[in-house]
């Protein structure tokens, strides 16, 4: 073993000086020249040319075998890290170098086994993995070296640094990274992963690009995926060939073939995203390999990859890798639409029976039926459970049904006889790690198909955006779908580079929301949110500040992700600007105040009213809140007079505020993660008034009010605590009413301008309106009423009486009011 390792290191050293590609080129040119020389010499019968041809042929053979020699050592694994080997043993006397792969060995050799991570990074920049890594970051090694040197020189950015560790300490870090990445050898990505911690400059370089240790390994995996997608060698293709004559013993299936399609064809082999479902593919294979009762039911949400599992199995069968019992089987997807098209029920039953008999006679068919619950429902006009039953019991045909969770619970569980003939396999969503690998795999296909180059940052962004903003489709479907949309956008814009900015732009257009990296304009808007809101809401400085701070936390990514974008409980008397704040926030945050969905909670005082919100399975009624949020998850939900809602409804919001979602009556998840929830209440209005009159400061008032409503048991503590902020609104003072009067008249002026009139309002009119409209109980509502009755009504009458004509200026006089 030692000899193998030392030879491996020797070859690695040689190859870093004379890369295998040099020998490949030499082989090619010597081969071509030898061929030409030999052919010409045979024609001209010139001995010297024949001699040259033989020498060139000898060189060709030598280069060929030398290429094989170098490639052999590049691909072997002389020693692998097993789980039972202790770190101490691995690190003893530098024996860890025996576990380095070819390229990692070359990097260590190039850096002269230096423990200085900066030197190692510098050395690594010339090797394939690091070049590939930089390429996926949109950089060349030269660009990196320049930037890296700049970062190193600007010491003020990161202080004095940690200094260089001893080699043993650094290698222990490398080993930890390799183990964290689940590697059985040390790869270049593990070296760089360790450098990401050990080198301050490299750490900053990666931080600037939002890249961490795990990302480095993911890019390494991507490189391996691309290598795996390269055209396979002749021997491998021959070995994977299914062979000829395997289906000659099976019956022709003319009727089945007419209404079904083959799965696992040659095209499927390269377009599968089976990585996430390897386990389920093997479980399915185990079930179908049984001699009797070999039927399976794949249960999962649409888009989760049920068909991918089947395709994965079909490819295994095709490549002869499946269990012996399935080796020559054909996997066919039955098109029930074709079976049922334009026929009477009896025709349909006859046709299906014929097709199933065809499959049974063949004895080699795995029949796939999508949305099988539609054909097993007792109430459905297409119920064919009785037709399927004998075939489900047959040992000569295997049936795989695909169904959703809802379909399974509603239609299949209720039919115990049918359910007992299937083995259920639950298909779960891939996790973060699996999804990133799937996206890399899919990206490789998109690059080949569309001639684009996809940056790693784009893949990362696509995962994040689809996770956060596409809530009605599961992974992997939503991730792949967004990736395809982004690639299409790049192709349309004639941009060969797919970046994270483009991904954010595509998603922004899709949800009509700013989503990308915070641009300067949006940063300014967030930083000056108070000002934006105060354009519409007068006074309430403390409340507006509290809301603005919460929104900044949410948009900058500091807030918890699994909760609504923002949630507030507005407490205060009527007419002080609670609803206006909500409208203003909807306009600023979602771009339009019409994105506010208002629920008058006084209409939900009974326990039975919950059905109107979340739906009712018994009556089939769709919940208004469920529908509204499903139609537009980017909304501001205003729950007016929340204290009047039934306690069960408040319990529903406990879950919403905590987890950012609820499940409707039909079992569908409704997502609030992109919504802002504002609940308003007049509870404690009198308390506020008293405290204000007593000159209480805002913070003490807020605390006192919360204690008050808890003491009075208006809300439970767990409900109040779930909100991002409890915002107290003060009663308006006269000066604020005057400002509101100005705003109301300004808006009236804008409306009149559209009709061709100009409105002029003197200060004494504004003062009069503010005086007349001031009411401690009704706040600005009274003012609004006064403006409507005294100003708007009069102007309307004058316009109808032709006092004013288009183009005229309307001058309000105090005496006229």
């Amino acid at each position: 073993m030692y000899a193998l390792v030392s030879t491996f290191i020797q070859v690695a050293k040689f190859e870093s000086r004379f890369p295998v590609r040099v020998f490949e080129s030499a082989r090619f040119y010597s081969g071509v020249c030898a061929g030409v020389a030999l052919l010409v010499s045979l024609g001209l019968r010139v001995n010297a040319l024949l001699g040259l041809g033989l020498i060139l042929f000898g060189a060709y053979a030598l280069f060929h075998f030398f290429t094989l020699f170098l490639t052999f050592y590049k691909n072997i694994r002389p020693k692998v890290i097993s789980t039972d080997t202790k770190d101490e043993e691995l690190l003893k006397e530098d024996s860890i170098f025996e576990y380095f792969d070819f390229e990692a060995t070359q990097i260590m050799l190039a850096s002269h086994y230096s423990p200085d991570p900066d030197m190692l990074i510098h050395s690594a920049a010339g090797f394939p993995f690091f070049s590939y890594f930089l390429m996926r970051l949109g950089m060349t090694p030269a660009m990196f070296k320049k930037e890296f040197a700049e970062i190193k020189s600007s010491r003020e950015r990161f202080g004095a640094g940690q200094g260089v560790k001893a080699l043993g300490v650094f290698l222990a870090d490398v080993l930890s990274v390799a183990k964290r990445n689940g590697h059985s050898q040390i790869h270049p990505s593990d070296l760089l992963g360790a450098c990401a911690t050990a080198s301050q400059a490299f750490k900053l370089f990666l931080l600037d690009r939002n890249i961490d240790e795990k990302d480095i390994d993911r890019v390494h995996h991507w490189q391996k995926v691309l290598e795996a997608h390269k055209r396979k060698g002749f021997l491998q293709r021959l070995g994977e060939s299914a062979g000829i004559g395997k289906d000659w013993a099976y019956a022709y299936t003319v009727k089945l073939d007419a209404v079904s399609t083959a799965l696992g064809g040659a095209r499927a082999r390269d377009s599968l995203h089976v990585l996430a479902h390897q386990k389920q593919i093997l479980v399915l294979e185990g079930i179908l390999a049984k001699t009797a009762g070999a039927n399976a039911l794949l249960v999962g949400d649409p888009g989760i990859g049920k068909m991918t599992v089947i395709e994965g199995l079909a490819v295994r069968i095709r490549n002869g890798l499946s269990a012996r019992e399935l080796n020559y089987d054909r996997v066919r997807k039955l098109s029930m639409e074709l079976v049922f098209s334009g026929k009477s029920y009896s025709d349909m039953v006859r046709m299906l029976t014929d097709v199933l008999q065809d499959a049974e006679r063949a004895g080699s068919v795995v029949l796939v039926i999508d949305e099988i619950h539609n054909y097993l429902s007792k109430s459905s006009p297409t119920n064919v459970a009785e037709v399927l039953l004998p075939f489900l019991k047959s040992s000569r045909v295997k049936i795989v049904g695909l169904t959703t969770l809802g379909g399974y619970e509603k239609e299949i569980v209720e039919n115990p006889l049918v359910a007992s003939l299937f083995e259920k396999i639950r298909i779960e969503e891939p996790d973060h790690e699996e999804m990133m690998l799937i996206l890399e795999d899919a990206a490789s296909h998109e690059e080949v198909g569309h001639g684009v180059f996809i940056l790693y940052a784009a893949i990362k962004k696509i995962y994040e955006l689809s996770r956060l903003y596409i809530t009605d489709v599961p992974f992997p479907e939503k991730g792949i779908e967004l990736l395809q949309q982004v690639v299409t956008a790049a192709v349309t814009n004639k941009t060969p580079l797919v970046t994270d900015t483009l991904a954010a732009e595509v998603m922004s257009r899709r949800v009509n929301m700013p989503l990308g990296v915070l641009d300067t304009k949006e940063k300014e808007k967030l930083l000056t949110l108070e000002g934006e809101l105060h354009k519409r809401v007068i006074g309430q400085y403390e409340a507006i500040k509290k809301i603005s701070e919460a929104m900044r936390r949410s948009r900058s990514g500091v807030a918890a992700e699994n909760r609504p974008a923002g949630s507030f409980l507005f407490l205060g008397p009527t007419g002080v600007g609670k609803t206006e704040t909500a409208k203003a926030l909807a306009a600023v945050y979602f771009g339009n105040e019409e994105r506010m969905i208002r629920f008058d909670m006084s209409e939900y005082q009974n326990q039975t009213d919950i059905g109107r919100l979340i739906g009712n399975q018994a009556t089939g009624e769709v919940g208004v809140m469920a529908k509204a949020l499903r139609d537009d998850p980017f909304s501001l939900v205003l729950l007016d007079e929340i204290e009047k809602a039934h306690p069960d409804i408040l319990n529903l919001f406990l879950q919403v505020l905590d987890e950012g979602k609820f499940t409707d009556a039909f079992g569908r998840p409704i997502n609030f993660k992109n919504a802002i929830i504002i609940a308003t209440s007049n509870a404690g209005a009198e308390f506020i008034r008293q405290q204000i009159q007593a000159g209480q400061a805002y913070d003490a008032l807020s605390k006192g009010l919360v204690d008050f409503i808890l003491q009075k048991a208006i809300f439970r503590p767990e409900f109040v605590n779930r909100f991002d902020g409890v915002v107290v609104y003060r009663p308006l003072v006269k000066e604020e009413i005057r400002e509101i009067a100005k705003i109301l008249l300004q808006k009236l002026g804008e409306r009149l301008e559209k009709k061709g009139f100009t409105l002029e309002v003197p200060d004494d009119v504004i003062a009069w309106l503010a005086e007349a409209g001031y009411n401690e109980v009704f706040g600005a509502r009274e003012l609004r009423r006064i403006v409507q009755e005294k100003v708007e009504s009069k102007i309307a009458t004058d316009i109808l009486s032709d006092v004013y004509k288009r183009g005229d200026m309307i001058r309000l006089q105090k005496e006229d009011l």
Binding site: A48, G51, L54, L68, F72, G245, W248, Y252
Partner: protein, 126 residues
């Protein structure tokens, strides 16, 4: 130094690698023609085309069904036997090719030296 390593590899690990590749190639050709599988199903009816004899006994009908089924099986035997024979021949050729390749592998250093020497002799006139 690397040349020594190369020659050591060529007659140790390289040789076993060449041997594995040669065996894989021969096995691949053999499996491609599905020889074992076709032998196992040699007498099966061609694409399972076989009629049932039905209830009762009518000599004429019985003979017709028998003849039909016999034709199906004979057809199956002919096609499969042809493929088996062709597969065996192809495998034998592959085995000979693989043996030649292995021989060339063993003789490669001498062959290369031979090409160079012969080439030089022809290139430089006596």
């Amino acid at each position: 130094m690397i040349l020594v390593t190369f020659f050591i590899w060529h007659y140790t690990l390289g040789l076993s690698y060449a041997l594995v590749c040669s065996v894989d190639f021969v096995k691949g050709v053999f499996n491609y023609f599905s020889v074992f599988y076709l032998l196992r199903t040699l007498f099966s009816p061609w694409h399972s085309i076989a009629e049932r004899y039905g209830r009762g006994f009518a000599l004429g009908e019985y003979l017709m069904v028998l003849l039909g089924n016999l034709v199906s099986r004979v057809l199956g035997v002919i096609v499969r036997a042809c493929v088996i024979v062709f597969g065996v021949i192809a495998t034998a050729c592959a085995a000979m090719g693989a043996a030649g390749f292995l021989l060339f592998w063993l003789l490669m250093p001498f062959a290369v030296a031979g090409f160079f020497i012969a080439g030089l002799i022809l290139l430089i006139p006596a």
